[in-house]
Symmetry: C2
Subunit: 746 residues, 2 copies
Amino acid sequence: MTFRFFLFSVVFINSLYGQKQPVEYVNPFIGTSNFGTTNPGPIAVRGMANVSPFNVAGEQNLPLEKDSRWLSTPYVHENTFLTGFSHVNLSGVGCPELGVILAMPTTGEMETDHLKYGSTYSSEVSEVGYYSNHLDKYDIKMEATATTRVGVSNYTFPKGDSNVLLNLGLGLTNEQGASVKVVSPTEIEGMRSVGSFCYYKPEEAYPVYFVARFSRPAQEFGTWKKPTKYNGVESQWMGYNGKPRLMRGYTKEVIGDSIGAYMRYSFEKPTQLELKIGISYVSIANARENLEKETADRNFDQILKSAKDEWNRYLSKIEVEGGKEEDKIKFYTALYHTLIHPNTLNDVNGDYPKMRTRETLKTDGSRYTVFSLWDTYRNLHQLMSLVYPRQQSNMVKSMLQIYDESGWLPKWELNATETTTMVGDPAGIIIADTYLKGIRDFDIEKAYEAMLKSADQKENNPLRPGIKDYLDKGYLTTKTTNSGSVSTTQEYNITDFAIAQLAKALGNKEDQKRFAKRAISYRNLFDSDINLLRPKNDDGTWLTPYNPESGANFEKNLGFIEGNAWQYTFMVPHDIKGLMKMMGGPKVFANRLQDVFDKNQFDMANEPDIAYPYLFNYVKGQEHRTQQKVSELLETYFKNSPDGLPGNDDTGTMSAWAVFSMMGLYPVTPAEPIYALTKPVFDTITVHLDNKYYKNEKLKIIRSDSMGDNVEIKSIKVDGKPHKGYFISHNDLTNASTLYFEMISY
Amino acid sequence: MTFRFFLFSVVFINSLYGQKQPVEYVNPFIGTSNFGTTNPGPIAVRGMANVSPFNVAGEQNLPLEKDSRWLSTPYVHENTFLTGFSHVNLSGVGCPELGVILAMPTTGEMETDHLKYGSTYSSEVSEVGYYSNHLDKYDIKMEATATTRVGVSNYTFPKGDSNVLLNLGLGLTNEQGASVKVVSPTEIEGMRSVGSFCYYKPEEAYPVYFVARFSRPAQEFGTWKKPTKYNGVESQWMGYNGKPRLMRGYTKEVIGDSIGAYMRYSFEKPTQLELKIGISYVSIANARENLEKETADRNFDQILKSAKDEWNRYLSKIEVEGGKEEDKIKFYTALYHTLIHPNTLNDVNGDYPKMRTRETLKTDGSRYTVFSLWDTYRNLHQLMSLVYPRQQSNMVKSMLQIYDESGWLPKWELNATETTTMVGDPAGIIIADTYLKGIRDFDIEKAYEAMLKSADQKENNPLRPGIKDYLDKGYLTTKTTNSGSVSTTQEYNITDFAIAQLAKALGNKEDQKRFAKRAISYRNLFDSDINLLRPKNDDGTWLTPYNPESGANFEKNLGFIEGNAWQYTFMVPHDIKGLMKMMGGPKVFANRLQDVFDKNQFDMANEPDIAYPYLFNYVKGQEHRTQQKVSELLETYFKNSPDGLPGNDDTGTMSAWAVFSMMGLYPVTPAEPIYALTKPVFDTITVHLDNKYYKNEKLKIIRSDSMGDNVEIKSIKVDGKPHKGYFISHNDLTNASTLYFEMISY
């Protein structure tokens, strides 16, 4: 890995006053190991296309090989055997999907088997909007950049015979099927079937279309197909049984599970060739239009400059000064990761596929997709609301489009399919949180109606399975579900709290009361004998025997999904005071919370307990523990290295945690517009607020000095006035010009 | 089987003077057993589309099941288990191909596995342009007809839930892959990959497109897909592994090897539903245009009437009177079979796919396809030249288009691919024969150039493998090829004779001489010790040991393809006198020829010896043997029953043999415009000649009486004048008004 701070080849960033720009601090290799499942390939802000090196196929890559285990990323940093560059990818997800439309430059004879044409690589460089390596086997320099819907590659071939393969069989997805057609010696079009996210709902598989355009006409082109092998008597007549076939000069569609197309050149001297691949989830025509509108008449360097400029504009919404260089890298890389998903689904012309049936609809704004809401309701959307409120507004609108189209708000929406992954009913939390923060340019009545629908519909409710027990008993039982009866009750509680909060804002007192009551029903599952949550059986008795530690490390257990009682008990952000009371008061609460860390039950790599470190702020005098714990976690789990994320980035949720934490803020209670405060890691943090939504254009977060790591907050001032406590409301924050932390050594 | 002579439901044939019309004599069940490989489904004259019942899948159909043996037909008369109706099919071929785009009406719950939804059937009816049966399992009446490019079905459903399945996985072809998309509740479009004819050249697989339109909007629609089964660790996460998936309401393409689409209805009373499926080898848009141009605003009955009318126009070009009713059925069914292939490849708008690369080209006339020339050069094209010269002219033009596009004349062309099936270089024979018969409205210079190319090019000559030895030694050796060194020498000789004949007509004496000499090089392989042809080794010695009978029944042998020395020795139609001389004179020749029959070496089911019965005409005083043998063969091998063809119809070649033979004529020497004469089976045969090419509009072939079977020709008169010998030139025949056979009993 080479992480270039300074760009020699293309100088494009206007480094005013010699200061480094935000994009220069991003290291896209962060998260590419330790199952972070990010990739180092270029992508535009919320881009549909992304050119990722693909190095997870082939036994050379064992043990991190895609078919030998559950692996959900096209790229793993420690792997060495590259078989192409995939053009649609997911970042920070837990299930294999996409990772398709692979382009691969080779030299010499045509070889269509990726296990044979794959290569090791060296001189790897990754920057915002830029990736490059050197393919050892072929002496080819590969460079890539991207616009929103187009992946752009620049290959530098040596003299001689060269090929560009477009492999539509290979992919990270487990879905099969593609079609491809050579349109001309400079263009290939086609589609790839994807779907079955988390090895689930294959009946909702769907196509992704592409148009690939080459800067030079090929001397030869063609397609290939490796058919399914026949067994039985007929196989003896098939000399070609199961073998790949090359179809030279063929200009009609080829269809199949293992197919591809190629362009072949004979270069008299080392030659550069640009490849642009436009993507669309609607049609080939739209993929072509996307390609033309976004990249027409612009070469690689021009597109790269635009990509960097766009990223810089976005990343510069938060400017940081002082602090460690390493922290700046961690910070801007994390911010970068929060701007990847949700990503754009609609084409340049506004077309996007309708949920499930995939009819074509049109949107004025952005139809976003990849809503991994069980993760992102906790902090990512809160970050968007604060720094990129227009995007957040569009995300809510996208959720409402999904409701219009499918009858339900999203849970884990992916490219116009509802994957129904994970649990809970999180969309409403985000909508309420957004609305309560003053971002209101969406149809709140429809949103409220949608929230009530999943909150109240007892039968055939895809968002709240087990809702009957939830409404009748106040909780799900070990009979209701085996995917976390307690944790799902907590999730529903949090959503009900959000509805209550929104009902209050909308003046609906009845609903407010009803849902506020529902929101604390988790209390039925609090076992005061052990001061932890505990599953109940259908008859109301406690699950016995019961080991509260069971469930750590994603171990399957009856009470909690992806966690155990320790990791979930404090996940009642809307009722910390109620929990505290049940536990026996603030002191017991703080000790019990400390136990989570001391007993090594805290899991930084997953969402349920992600806000725990901030809960010390609720206990007067214990706020320093928040500051120490957050600092410690930022140091331990967030690093400027491929394993620099605690685990799966969860479409930016882990990164959003880091961004907030490094700014000294954390949105501790979804749907309650407050932030817990902790010490920022930079001397000055300037947040450029969008005055479409916020009064002040600029919020400065300042800490008094840079005395080192062993400091804690002595006092807090807002616009020069002393601030009481370690929370600040969203309103106070966005109306303020400065949030000042006076630090002292401890 | 019910073969309806009288049509009660739809009266459309204008039976003037109460006489039955030709279409009423056609029994499309003839050839559907005994490996005739015809099918009883409706097809237009030289139609692209054909709705064949498909009953060759599933163990219920063993032993004639498509995957358990080499089976080259979608329908076998003795089979009972029907799994749909395929919309593109080949008739009378020896390799499995096409048999795809299967529609199947069912009732009740949706079932997508053809082995489960298949049904037995009853009340089967087949007529020209019409097929019907009753699906026992579902109580559905199925009827079908066709235009040139559209298959039209009419289903009568009982009350209740009904489905129409479009299965794109199932097929007779061994090629895989399809795409399908529901466009609206009345329309489905897609494509199916086909190719690999004779389990060969899979790299030239190609798409066939379709648009299916339903007369009633479906209440529900969708697609299905059965994905390839995963093995390995991932399969444990796939609850759906290898199982079919139903995608209800899905409106985007689905791609895969085993896919389909369906329309679902709920009928309140028995209801008719029409399904029209337009076909194109160019594009979905063209399939739609074909459908609209050929069937728009016309219902099933109207289309059926047009189909019958068109067939009647064509079949009426030869009118027969007198003779047996059974013979009329045999005759018109045979004539019907000669009008199926070559069939139309181009769309209504003239578009057709270019050879191999499948770029789209345009034609003014008809681009015909399915040129099984090793078969058809012997008689089928001669029949076309005589009765349908415009079609024959278009066939030659199509061959020249193929030359333009691929650089070579066709050998066994199928839907714009050259399958390179069988041996020899037969296209030139047909071109010369056509030209010498006065059909000259094509580019003879280009044709001649094309013929010389394959005749002379020593390297990389796909039409004449082994040409080097052929030119150097005069023959192919057992080293040159293991697919018939003698027989291929004979094939090249016949083509060289054709070139010599054409050179003569074009005034090119040098070529005439050169090729006339080449044309008799087979003589080197005549072993006068055994009075039979015999393979030679590379060193010029005879293949030893040698059993001239080896090779019968398609047994593989070094000298002859699909035959043995007996079946090939007389296959020198252009040099019968030379052969006679080598054998020791006419008497020895006649006895040796008689030996073929007496020793049971004659094979009526394959082409090499198909003209043998006519060779007695070359020996003065032995002509009665021709008459007797031809009569006997017509009686023995051609019947009004499913097994009523001697074997594979070879795209109409066997049927053309019957048509000519029953007319009392046979084009015994390809590229020499003469006919051998034998006794006709009807009292009067009126051939309506096309006066674009021929002087007389009407040729009457008359025999003196109907004294029964045991008659022979006493004398022959042409326009009242005595005719010498048992041959007549094409010129004399087409200038004559009557050809009169005076018969006597023997």
